[in-house]
């Protein structure tokens, strides 16, 4: 007999200190992103099926659930506007599912507007900005729902309640049917086999017709999955080894008949939402974990600290080397080498975790294009290629806006209206192709359209009017690009929302260059335009030793350093114009970094020396102190004014100040060629 029932009404809104679940806003936003992504994808599918093709009931069901979930979590974080709007959309979907309201193009448009507004409301909460008003939208939708309830329109949707339980999707009548029984146990859990994993595996292999929990005669719980799949012997053997009992089902059961014992779970075939075209049937298993980027950065820092500790250990060991018997020393060295290798593997592994498919940027583009095309009355389709190409997450975040800007430009300035296109002998629907591919350590992202191309004369005229210097004669594509990206080319009073608030191409170029990438343009008037962004696959991240010379701090890439030794000034010998010291039984020329760069001597009595090169080419670069080893992000030092030989870049050690990165190979070469000269900005001697 069940325990005595009691009821609690949630009061929902207030506690003493305001919103009770505000700590969970990050989770809330993340979950909203997932739901909204799903909504967008489903709406595109829905739109394609209006006024013609059959409407898949599952699409309506999924949409309903998304809005229902959004309503629930928005209520929990007390984002009232989102909750109300989601509720309203949920009601509309309910009416659609029940057939109270017929699906029209206007209705789908309303759903798009609703989804977009909902997204904006949530984004506004995230950014702390005022949210858009929802009242007009809510009343429009409510009115439609109310009218539908009155009319009770009879719209039979295939897959309506009568046929419930029959899963839609690709039923393969020819496939054999099996009953797979899974009994969870602690032992299987320890092997990572849980019911969810089993379900995933089964749906990848075929189609799940039914899933029913049961209690066996022994009182244990088991799950029965009926699937339609072609299973070969190895698969059957593997599954049985993983705790599944499998038997063929004699005759095709009428799916949907609930067994007297337990209610069935309704299952949908896994939707290949991100499968590439041409790879139909490949279902992406989601064995992914959402990781906070700051945790990854922390991990990287920990590994960096490990590397520093390892370096300190090496220094300590070097000091005691002569006191350790040879065989023991060799053992220590071997251990050290193994640790080095493992550290490197670990660091590279973490770097790889940061790699994210470019598809994350591309995914949004069809929606953006659709909205813009609708607004401007054009017809545009989007093709995505190479979405699986991976780049560093840092780059993804920086590239989102520039790519968005270029795509918007392509729709608003590139693609012509249907009439213009027909008049030009093109198909009325324009195409934008977004592609990504790697070549070596570069990722190439291209945004290409088959529109009207860039009108060089118009650009030149506009540039002149804006007061920009315009080269004489015909403009080549790089000159065109420079003009397009020049500050002042596009002005703030461009009320064309599509161009991204009038910020202009300059921002795109700056963003690309900031990441050590490059932007280029190809265009053919009348035929189309292609923008190409070349980006490094990973950031140039490298290990470096941080050294102090006088008041200056420098970074020296670890890879170039053979060894670090400490040398008392008294041990330096003057030989002709060079300073030297003994090192491993041979003479090592020493270059004081300070002198090489025209910095004053520090007057210290001990110097730290990096040894670079080997054998006869070995060279020691002396600094005052080495303060540690760090993993650094290399930034370009590009401008001619500060391009100095011997400096290969710059980095930030975390406090926002520039630390220059040395190029020891160049220093070494300079030493060999002209030992008495001091560097200057253009390489000419002073």
């Amino acid at each position: 007999m069940p325990p005595r029932a009691r009821a609690y009404e949630g009061t929902g809104v207030t506690t003493d200190n305001g919103a009770p679940f505000s700590d969970f806003l990050d989770d809330y936003f993340a979950e909203c992103d997932d739901h909204l992504m799903g909504v967008r994808r489903l709406l595109l599918t829905l739109e394609a099926s209006v006024g013609g093709a059959e409407i898949n009931r599952n699409v309506l069901d999924e949409l309903f659930r998304h809005f229902h979930s959004l309503k629930g979590i928005s209520g929990m974080v007390e984002l009232r506007a989102a909750e109300d709007l989601a509720h309203c959309l949920e009601e509309y979907l309910r009416a659609l599912r029940q057939g109270d309201v017929a699906l029209t193009a206007e209705g789908v448009g309303l759903l798009f507007d609703g989804a977009q507004t909902l997204e904006q409301v949530i984004a506004a909460r995230r950014a702390g900005t005022p949210a858009p008003a929802i009242d007009a939208l809510v009343s429009r939708i409510s009115r439609i729902v109310a009218e539908g309830a009155r009319d009770r329109a009879v719209a039979t949707l295939p897959g309506s309640p009568q046929a419930q339980g029959e899963p839609s999707g690709s039923v393969r009548p020819a496939a054999a049917r099996w009953r797979c029984t899974f009994s969870p146990s602690a032992e299987l859990v320890a092997r990572g086999i849980r019911v969810d994993a089993v379900r995933r595996r089964l749906s990848e292999a075929g189609e799940i017709l039914n899933a029913v929990p049961r209690v066996t005669t022994g009182g244990a719980i088991a799950f029965e999955f009926d699937i339609a799949a072609d299973l070969d012997e190895p698969t059957l053997a593997a599954w049985r080894g993983d705790g599944l009992a499998i038997e063929p089902l004699a005759a095709p059961e009428r799916a949907g008949s609930p067994t007297p014992d337990a209610p069935a779970a309704t299952l949908e075939p896994a939707a290949p939402a991100d499968a590439e075209p041409g790879q139909a049937g490949r279902v992406a298993p989601s064995h992914y974990v959402r990781v906070d980027l700051t945790r990854l950065d922390d991990l990287m820092r920990n590994v960096g600290d490990l590397v520093i500790s390892r370096a300190r250990l090496a220094e300590t060991l070097a000091r005691i080397e002569r006191r350790v018997p040879g065989s023991e020393w060799r053992a220590i060295q071997e251990n050290a080498v193994v640790i080095d290798r493992q550290l490197r593997t670990l660091r590279e592994g973490i770097m790889r975790v940061r790699l994210v498919p470019v598809g994350e940027i591309f995914r949004r583009m069809p929606f953006v294009v659709r909205d813009l095309a609708r607004e401007s009355g054009k017809r545009v389709r989007v093709e995505l290629r190479g979405q699986g190409t991976e780049i560093d997450k840092f780059l993804i975040e920086r590239m989102m806006d520039p790519v968005l800007h270029l795509v918007r430009n392509a729709v608003s300035h590139g693609i012509e209206t249907a009439e213009e296109r027909i008049a030009a002998g093109k198909s009325p629907e324009g195409t934008i192709v977004l592609s990504a591919a790697t070549a070596g350590d570069i990722v190439r992202i291209e945004i290409a359209d088959d529109g009207r191309g860039v009108d060089a004369a118009a650009v030149a005229a506009r540039a002149t009017a804006a007061g920009l210097p315009v080269p004489q004669g015909a403009l080549d594509s790089s000159q065109l690009l420079s003009l397009l990206c020049a500050p002042g080319f596009s002005t703030r009073d461009e009320s064309d929302r599509a161009s991204g608030r009038g910020v202009g191409m300059g921002v795109v170029q700056a963003a690309v260059e900031e990441l050590s990438g490059s932007l280029s343009l190809e265009t053919t008037p009348g035929a189309g335009t292609r923008f190409t962004l070349d980006l490094p696959v990973t950031l140039a991240i490298t290990d470096a030793l941080i050294a102090i010379v006088g008041a200056e701090t420098f970074a020296v890439p670890q890879a170039t350093i053979r060894e670090v030794v400490e040398v008392p000034v008294s041990a330096l010998l003057q030989v002709e114009r060079n300073e030297m010291t003994t090192y491993r039984g041979a003479a090592l020329p020493i270059v004081r970094l300070g002198r090489l760069f025209g910095l004053p001597d520090s007057g210290r009595d001990r110097l730290h020396v990096f040894v670079i090169g080997t054998g006869a080419a070995a060279l020691g670069i002396a600094v005052d102190r080495i303060i540690g080893q760090r993993e650094i992000v290399v930034r370009a030092v590009a401008d001619a004014l500060v391009r100095v030989e011997g400096i290969s870049g710059a980095t930030d050690l975390g406090d926002g100040q520039v630390v220059l990165i040395l190029d020891p190979a160049v220093l070494a070469r300079h030493m060999r060629e002209r030992p008495d000269r001091v560097f200057t900005a253009t390489g000419a001697a002073r």
Partner: protein, 129 residues
């Protein structure tokens, strides 16, 4: 050490529930994102309390509840169901199917905590007639 099973398809809400119930002394938590996972959790280890969302995609919470109540061994486990404002039908069905209490979303943390405490102490008070 009472084990509390939190069943909801929203990861955010599962976190919120867990956080709300943290003040319960000695409580251990388990989570499930759908009906099958919930049943699996119950199969693997004894559970002192279930917080069960009703509107889940694959298997409705009411069906999970019915499955439990039909079988000896789980028929007495206290279950607090989470219902949505406006969905009185599901709420009534759940109570009829044997839910111990219902809580309407959105709820505030101490309401959930109070409900959980009451249910656990009821259960500790011994079997009913």
């Amino acid at each position: 050490m009472p084990k509390i099973l939190i069943v909801d398809d929203s990861a955010t809400i599962r976190k919120m529930v867990r956080s709300s119930l943290r003040p319960l002394e000695d409580a251990e938590f388990a989570e499930a994102g759908n009906g099958l996972e919930a049943i699996e959790q119950i199969a693997l280890a004894p559970v002192a309390l279930i917080i069960l969302d009703l509107n889940m995609p694959d298997m409705h919470g009411v069906d999970v509840l019915k499955f439990l109540r039909r079988h000896q061994g789980w028929s007495d486990v206290p279950v607090v169901v989470l219902t949505t404002r406006g969905d009185e039908a599901s709420r009534d069905t759940a109570m009829a199917a044997g839910a111990t209490q219902y809580l309407t979303k959105p709820f505030s943390p101490h309401v959930l905590l109070a409900a959980a405490r009451a249910v656990l102490s009821d259960a500790a008070a011994g079997p009913r007639v």
